[in-house]
């Protein structure tokens, strides 16, 4: 039993209180997601060289938490379609996309992946968006690493606006009703 004169020293503990942050779960998840976007490098042509340059020391996308290039689609978050998608390759790209777990995003890097580019031809798919949904298009032939980083930062902004948990809750409520 405490005597009336004893003061409670646990009322304010600076070691705990200063480390508590109040936020929404959605905001916290988005913050985590956008800063650890693991790319699946779908290097199909010269854009892949710029993608590699973006990953290396001078441009260094590890500043954005994106340096973890995953060569297994099962561990990747962003499909970076970098290069010319031929019809022969198109269904393989689609298959990689299908194997990636949700949530996932797609970046069409460069003119070819966005629209077929200069290849108005029987052999080239006229834009990867005919097969899979694209979140960010990056112009350029090929785009410089700065452009790719700008595109990926736009993707971060997009991830930040998503309502992952709220959407999940709504779909669960709609499912139970």
């Amino acid at each position: 039993m405490l005597s009336p004169t004893t003061t409670l020293e646990t009322a304010y503990d600076s070691k705990i209180e200063s480390n508590v942050i109040v936020t929404r779960v959605d905001a916290a998840m988005n913050w985590v997601r956008k800063n650890s976007l693991w790319p699946m490098p779908m290097g199909l042509a010269c854009c892949a060289i710029e993608l590699m340059a973006t990953a290396s020391a001078r441009f260094d996308i590890s500043r954005f938490g994106m340096e973890v290039m995953r060569f297994s689609p099962r561990q990747a978050d962003v499909l970076v379609v970098s290069g010319t998608v031929t019809y022969k390759m198109a269904l393989a790209v689609k298959r990689i996309w299908d194997q990636m777990p949700e949530p996932k995003w797609c970046v069409a890097m460069g003119a070819c992946a966005s629209s077929g580019g200069m290849y108005r031809s029987y052999a080239v798919l006229q834009g990867i968006d005919q097969l899979i949904p694209v979140d960010v298009y990056i112009s350029g032939c090929p785009p410089r690493p700065e452009a790719l980083i700008a595109g990926l930062m736009r993707l971060q902004e997009k991830v930040d606006t998503e309502h992952a948990l709220m959407d999940q809750k709504r779909s669960m409520l709609a499912g139970s009703a």
Partner: protein
């Protein structure tokens, strides 16, 4: 021995089977009949020292008879001399395969088959090399549109028609001034 002398020897050996020989800027070109093509190539390989096959290509002369031409580029290993052997091929007429002479002919002939639809008799594995098995067209033929044709082969591949927007844009070689030589949209039916 220079390639020009080889041409002379070949003309003596194969007589009327050599239809034409052209020399242009030290390049020797020989046009032979289709029946004589394989014997001529074998002679070049075994007697004249052309141990290397650089390339096999084909040309489509749409509207002419015979329609196609196959072109063989030969060279010696030290690249001291080069020789081009050509033969006219009618549609659906098979060409004797040169795989027995040069192993490197294998993929070249598959490419000619894939793109132009010229068959090679005696080829060990004549299937498409760039397009997929089941693709119904030969896309480098003159009567195949540049924009392509729609096809569908479920679970393998599909193709669509590319929007040409008034193109293809072709430069006019030999036009009198730079404005007319600029690439412009040329309607091709």
């Amino acid at each position: 021995m220079a390639a020009a002398e080889d041409v002379k020897l070949l003309r003596e050996t194969f007589a009327e089977k050599v239809l034409e020989s052209v020399e242009f800027r030290d390049e020797q070109t020989l046009l032979v009949t289709l029946e004589a093509l394989h014997p001529v190539l074998a002679h070049c390989r075994n007697e004249l020292g052309y141990a290397m096959l650089l390339d096999i290509s084909s040309v489509d002369f749409l509207g002419e008879e015979p329609r196609f031409e196959v072109v063989y580029e030969l060279a010696t290993v030290d690249d001291a001399k080069r020789l081009r052997v050509k033969a006219k091929v009618a549609e659906d007429a098979p060409v004797a395969s040169a795989v027995d002479l040069w192993g490197g002919a294998d993929w070249h002939e598959r490419e000619v088959w894939d793109m132009m639809g010229i068959g090679f008799a005696g080829h060990p594995n004549l299937k498409r090399i760039l397009m997929w098995e089941g693709y119904p067209y030969f896309p480098l033929r003159k009567d195949f549109p540049l924009a392509g044709r729609p096809t569908e082969l479920p679970d393998v591949a599909f193709t669509g028609v590319a929007p040409l927007e008034g193109g293809p844009f072709v430069a006019c070689a030999g036009a009198p001034n730079a404005v007319l030589r600029e690439p412009r949209s040329q309607a091709i039916d």
